[in-house]
Symmetry: C3
């Protein structure tokens, strides 16, 4: 079974495809608040999914990391307009500090292709 890697870099690939499933690197983005960062990070998710022939209707499981759970409602306001509401993934959301204090939210995605 072959493994396809998108944008392999020194630390990670942006996405890895194996046997009909794609695993994305955790996606973060700069932005002035959690809503702006969520929109930008989820646009990166869209881009990566498109590169492997998938899209947001094929999400299987997403782990959402929030640097501060006070941003839960803000993240959800963007999330709920972004997902394919007929095909939402399983999801878990937990509080965890991210790689730099600038990042407020990170999305770790598993999808079907």
């Amino acid at each position: 079974m072959s493994i396809e890697r998108i944008n392999p870099g020194a630390r990670m690939s942006a996405a890895v495809v194996h046997d009909g499933t794609v695993y994305l690197a955790g996606q973060v983005a700069e932005g002035a608040g959690v809503e702006e960062q969520s929109r930008a990070a989820l646009a990166l998710v869209d881009d990566l999914l498109a590169q492997v022939g998938s899209d947001r209707s094929k999400l299987l499981s997403v782990t959402v990391y929030l640097a501060d759970m006070a941003d839960f409602a803000g993240m959800n306001s963007v999330w709920e307009t972004w997902i394919d509401t007929a095909n939402p993934p399983a999801r878990a959301t937990v509080e965890a500090k991210l790689a730099t204090p600038d990042y407020l939210v990170e999305f770790s995605v598993i999808a079907a292709i």
Copy 2:
């Protein structure tokens, strides 16, 4: 390859099945302490697994999030009586605040069907 979604809602599905693997949404439950919450959340896991034709003997990987690692022993006391001891999953347990301060433990589950 088809994708089956259980209880798709505005934010997430309770479970998503793809190619013989099921991904559950993170399961939490109300309760007076970590043991009571663990029992109730793991009962929800049982219910969801049953809905897709799986059960606790087919767990592949579980991530356990504890709001306070001081509850590690309490969670484990319930966990060890809940799992099929002949067929335990891979597991990682880390400390992370959850969606509300009322929640002490969350279980993120991947299983075979």
Copy 3:
């Protein structure tokens, strides 16, 4: 579809194989700092992958938990020499306290076999 479990114990298996994918238990190791612990924990990953006929060139997705994000650079210095740079996994790194204060880093691994 059969499930193979490596070192099933009272709480977890060290690794679980299903349908060409292996899920490892979160790997931690004692050590005097994050670099030493990362080297030792990633050696445990190597051992487990070898037991199921996989290796670090087949990593799909890794979640790295750091007890203190101040150890990000130290962990990466070991990580970047450990991974197969032609075949890096998807990765997410977040801050989370681990089972005991002695542990500085934990690696949660999904790989192909």
